[in-house]
């Protein structure tokens, strides 16, 4: 019964989306982190999704998702002139992380919508399967 494969497919999508949500959470948590003495502040992270064949013999009809890589954003962090800050460098500048909170919020909404979509797909597949079990009884 190929409907059972739906659970594998949406399950992989849900775990990929929750990983994305996790990365967003750590980005947002570190939005105001300043650089340590080595001058390297927190760098925003991004997940990359990749399609993954899940059926037997690479059946194209069931394609799940996996997180292939997590990349760090290499743009330089925000620099603020604040000579009295304990982490200020020799010129009096403090380097903050390069997280863009607006971008992260958008990313979060998109991830949570996709998560909800997949949960709904799973619920529908479950109710269809339960009705299939009762086939011929009513």
């Amino acid at each position: 019964m190929s409907l059972f494969q739906v659970f594998n497919v949406t399950g992989s999508a849900i775990s990929a989306q929750s990983q994305r949500l996790n990365v967003v959470a750590s980005n947002l948590a570190n939005a105001d982190t300043v650089a340590g003495p080595d001058g390297a502040a927190y760098k925003a992270r991004q997940v990359t999704f990749q399609a993954e064949l899940m059926g037997q013999m690479g059946d194209a009809a069931s394609t799940g998702v996996k997180v292939s890589t997590i990349t760090e954003d290499q743009t330089p962090g925000r620099r603020v002139h604040d000579p009295n800050h304990p982490s200020a460098d020799a010129d009096g500048y403090v380097t903050y992380s390069n997280v863009n909170p607006v971008e992260e919020m958008v990313n979060m909404i998109s991830a949570s919508r996709s998560y909800q979509n997949n949960i709904e797909v799973m619920n529908t597949a479950k109710s269809l399967l339960l009705k299939t079990i009762q086939m011929g009884q009513g």
């Binding site: 739906v6 009809a61 069931s62 998702v65 597949a125």
Partner: protein, 133 residues
């Protein structure tokens, strides 16, 4: 005589497994809504049903020599997979249109249930005929 009783049931059985194949296909599309470069797919349902019930020769691979690996028979979607055309262009070349996929998913779920009901009423009719009451 008996296969006249069960012919309709066979037909609906094939339709049911094709419906579940399509449901799986649409679930894959929804799962990959955020995957860069993913191309949405759908199946030609009526074509697949015709092939599964033997009304039309399969367009898929055929074993013509003894050494060939036989393709799996019955209701299958693979031979009828088609690529969806993107309704809006996307920077990451993903062609999943969430509105269309959600509509297809709901539509397919309703039709799946309809097929189930056909089967159920068929079984009930048959049992009534057997009982003769």
């Amino acid at each position: 005589m008996l296969n006249r009783l069960t012919d309709t049931l066979d037909f609906h059985g094939q339709a049911l497994s094709l419906r579940s194949e399509r449901q799986r296909l649409i679930a894959s599309n929804i799962a990959n809504a955020d995957t860069p470069g993913y191309v949405a797919r759908d199946m030609n349902f009526s074509q697949a049903l015709k092939e599964a019930t033997g009304l039309q020769a399969s367009a898929g691979m055929v074993a013509t020599r003894p050494g060939h690996i036989a393709t799996a028979g019955g209701a299958r979607a693979e031979a009828n997979l088609e690529y969806a055309v993107a309704s809006q262009t996307n920077l990451d070349r993903n062609t999943v249109d969430m509105d269309r996929e959600r509509a297809n998913f709901a539509d397919n779920a309703v039709r799946f249930e309809a097929t189930l009901r056909f089967i159920n009423s068929n079984v009930r009719t048959m049992i009534d005929a057997i009982k003769g009451q």
